[in-house]
Point group: D2
Chain length 339, copies 4
């Protein structure tokens, strides 16, 4: 009977893990059997809230339990690789926090291992599961935006300056996981990162420019030093353009019937005609992204869905961040043949 | 008696010239004697509106009239150099539309000539005369912003795609003339331009990154392909940060008491303490920028004021635009020793 | 030949008249023959700008000229009645500034006279000619809003305190002319006005509540004492609701697919189901309201259109303002059988 | 030892009670001994979360325990009176949810009883404890606003239509508790309520107009039928005006140096001079209102603070709501000598 629905274990209950635990525990379509963390006090606290879950400091309990189908890893990044590897080797499906691994090489190892083990490896790019991104994807699939031209994303605020990483690793990952929902990272031909450090050693204001072989152009601007909080993402297409403003409580998406058409009555090879029509603010499904993601992981385990953010995307993301570091170091654009 | 107030001539009455004519004609402290344009019909029209002004198609009338003290040039850019040169040679003070010249070499010739002739050469960087920029300059002079750290400016809209120039030449000039009011272009050490073209041959989305030897960092983002009109300029300092939003009808400037201080109670060389205080929206003088600029030119002629935007700034601006073209061509940052 | 297009005369060239003159003079479909005002200097100034128009201080020139088809009256309110009466008696069509007359009795006289003379009497309720109001009317005609439920309008700012009138006469006229485009004033059953005076003798903050026999409810809030400028008009219907925000530069109208439906699956006589769908911001025709109105007056003269705002509406508006004064005086709602 | 800090009991753990429980339980300066509710399942749930609290269905346990100093009542309104009366009789201090009682007569009984028992009776007008209202009160005390002139509050949204009460009882209580923080309800001379019902029996759109003997004027607009959520409260004074926008995540208060002064250079008894200066957005203390209120109740019990919202205010609030019902019924303003 226990096997009618998948069994889940969650490792890492610090900052983000409790949110994952809460969402998986709330699902009818799975059973959370284990919670795991090195901190014993923390485990005691959760034990009270989730009396039916087994809390342990020893991950081996999970690897050794054949009942466990899926493992969710939300530890610090440095531990992702070894835990995910162990989980896959033990024949478990894996959902791992972002960034998937500390290096893209480790990412490659995990992707290959998952393939070999015929298990799913998913990455928690939460934005990919938001109603906003789902809605924009619907528009793309319905050809409502036409050919995609550019992506421009601004994510700035007065933010906590990280001592061990730069603002691109901290913030641009969110924009990249949005971007990745719309275009294929495999098409990237050039990466350029630029920025400035004013208080610490790593850049606190950052810009990431990506060129694609399709002509698509992406720019991401992130900052820890802005007096205002802005989260503006524009996706421009030939037929319509979308503004995603994540600071809006409900009207997050605006679809503009705006753009430039060729005036066919003119002999000129390109005689622009400017179009400025209605704006639509679509109603969005109120499902929480993390709940949708938890359901999706369970559905992948059950064979009902295919991973939206498979391990390969997680690896590509890490690779882009590595290349942005390389670009910053060389102060030059990096041309790439493949990620 | 005619010489108690300066006498002005205006050349070029197409798009922007009529605004200059209107403002100078409205001043009590000068006398507009000539209006000049190649288009005769246009002149007839203005003659009715300004019966006391002499309208002519021949600029020589102006050079040869010893009564004329100052010449305002608002023709297409290609004609700026020859007209400004002739005016300076005829011993007139000059206010010329931006960009000052088509090349920085021509700019250098004008700057040197003005010096030799001991005449003022001013450039119409209109933003430098706005109440918003004046107010920010007051804050800087009062040390209210602390040490300046960065400038970040976004000027995007669905704009007319120019066939003969790129979006940086078209739009970033405005941001540069704002930036130039706060920091010294002579401190620039590196220029990098990036962007993409989707409809024509020249970039339609552009980014300009400037590094300064003081550690100051500037980024300007311009676009003709945005569905939304944004004109956001942030100037970040160690003591306060300013947001200048030119789309606001009256509340254009917001001063944020926000930033990062060192927590002196901590032994660490840098232990950040985040400050988030009041926001002030200062009332702004309602004087039109162009009126202020007209008055300023007249006051410079009368020896009462010193040029806010002298020819050398105009030359530097053109040089930056040239270097941005070079950077785009090389797809690499351009290091510079001097502009 | 002169009679192929209507001939127009404009009386009153103070504050608003010049706008009317500019718009009528710009039309190909009419000919402006006269401009009339008591102020001779003013006339001289306009003569220069409009050399082909005859400017006069004597309105008799207009009454006596059989070529004149339509007269536009933009004098102070106190003069409207006598001028409009004279114009109608002289067989001219009339467009008169709002409020149409100082009293509703005078309004009645004009309406009857126009009928007798078989001439059009139109009132310049400018808002009725805006693209925003036109768009909302299209939605109403297309049954997109369902049954209309309520109108709620806020028009507040730091405004000039009028010495001889209250804020309802000064500002609520605009909201009433918007309201009147959507519902029939003849259905009003009760008028209640309320407010307060803090500096002068007449109320400076005002509220006007109107009940209709259809169940429709209207509230208008006007103020000269607000620190913020708000121009929010909501029109609520059973199928959709519209927000008209006149301070927005282009996105003036928002159509909300929001409301309350009856849940038919429930036995209860009314079990509410809340609907919260998309928001649409329709693109608006950029035609200036006054230009549209000028064209409309000419088209009415030519027999091509029927008056959108006939004299009877102007009379009703004045009557509502009179009744609001009566309500203020009695500090009680005024029940009415007919306006 | 148990008596070094006050002991608290909380009755009613349905909708709002859990928030009170959480805040009181989190305080170091009090000890929560009892939680009480009729629903046993609910109590079991809370027992797990708060193992040190005694949960009971019998309020007598609380009345009979001499250790209990203060009782917090968050049951449905109909039960407030009997519970508060019992608590006061048992010698406990009381904090009761709003509205304090179902009728103002009951309110009077409680106020008198508290006085007799020498116990504090406080009402949970939560808005009175927000940082926004505290900040505005600071401005008033610092004479920054000058003489207060008017209060204008809009609280509209698509809201749940209540079957047993009208929108004024449901929503205007919030605006009244804000208003009451600034002016004295004892000065009210006239109450007028107006509105309309479109779906149910009770008004769904409501307006409440209050006149004060000081000349102060208050208007509150509430609605369940608005397509947009607006929470705008303006407090106008002779020296400055404040806008409180509760939908803003952090910039909730704007202080406008705007208003009308007398131009002393003019002989006229009132010659207005319009002032439009800076706008200040003060930083606000981030303390949660309910936490501040919990602390305040404990401090009142300990004799360290005086009630900010004593029972008499709660009674006045209920009386105003009763009078608004009377005004609606009579469709006329109600003049009052005392509340």
């Amino acid at each position: 009977m226990s096997k009618t629905i998948p069994t889940i274990a969650i490792i890492g209950l610090g900052y983000w893990g409790p949110n994952l635990l809460r969402n998986f525990a709330g699902l009818d379509e799975c059973h959370v059997k284990y919670g795991c963390d090195k901190n014993k006090e923390r485990l005691l606290r959760f034990q009270k809230q989730y009396p039916s879950v087994t809390f342990t400091t020893n991950a081996d309990d999970i690897w050794n339990d054949p009942e466990v189908d899926g493992v969710v890893i939300a530890t610090p990044t440095s531990a992702h690789f070894e835990l995910a590897k162990a989980a896959l080797k033990a024949g478990k499906h894996v959902l791992v926090e972002k960034p998937m691994t500390a290096t893209s090489k480790e990412g490659k190892v995990l992707v290959d291992l998952a393939k070999k083990q015929k298990k799913h490896l998913l990455v928690d790019h939460t934005f990919a599961y938001t109603s906003s991104v789902f809605k924009i994807n619907d528009l793309i699939k319905d050809h409502a935006l036409g050919k995609l031209l550019y992506f421009d994303s601004t994510r700035i605020n007065l933010g906590i300056i990280q001592k061990d990483t730069n603002v691109i690793w901290d913030l641009a990952v969110h924009d990249l996981s949005i971007l990745n929902s719309f275009v294929d990272f495999a098409d990237i031909t050039e990466i350029f990162a630029h920025g400035s450090a004013h208080y610490g050693k790593h850049i606190e204001i950052g810009h990431l420019h990506l060129k694609f072989k399709t002509g698509f152009y992406a720019h991401i601007h992130v900052s820890w030093l802005s007096p205002v909080k802005i989260r503006h993402t524009i996706l421009g297409g030939t037929k319509a353009m979308v503004l995603f403003d994540d600071t809006e409580p409900s009207e997050k998406i605006r679809v503009y019937d705006k753009g430039i058409d060729h005036d066919d009555t003119k002999p000129d090879p390109f005689f622009p005609k400017y179009r400025s029509g209605d704006v639509l603010i679509p109603a969005l499904d109120s499902t929480e992204a993390l709940l949708r993601e938890a359901r999706h992981f369970v559905a992948c385990i059950s064979g009902k869905e295919k991973p939206i953010v498979p391990g390969e995307l997680g690896r590509q993301m890490v690779r882009i961040l590595e290349l942005s570091d390389e670009s910053l170091k060389k102060n030059a654009p990096i041309k790439i043949k493949s990620l």
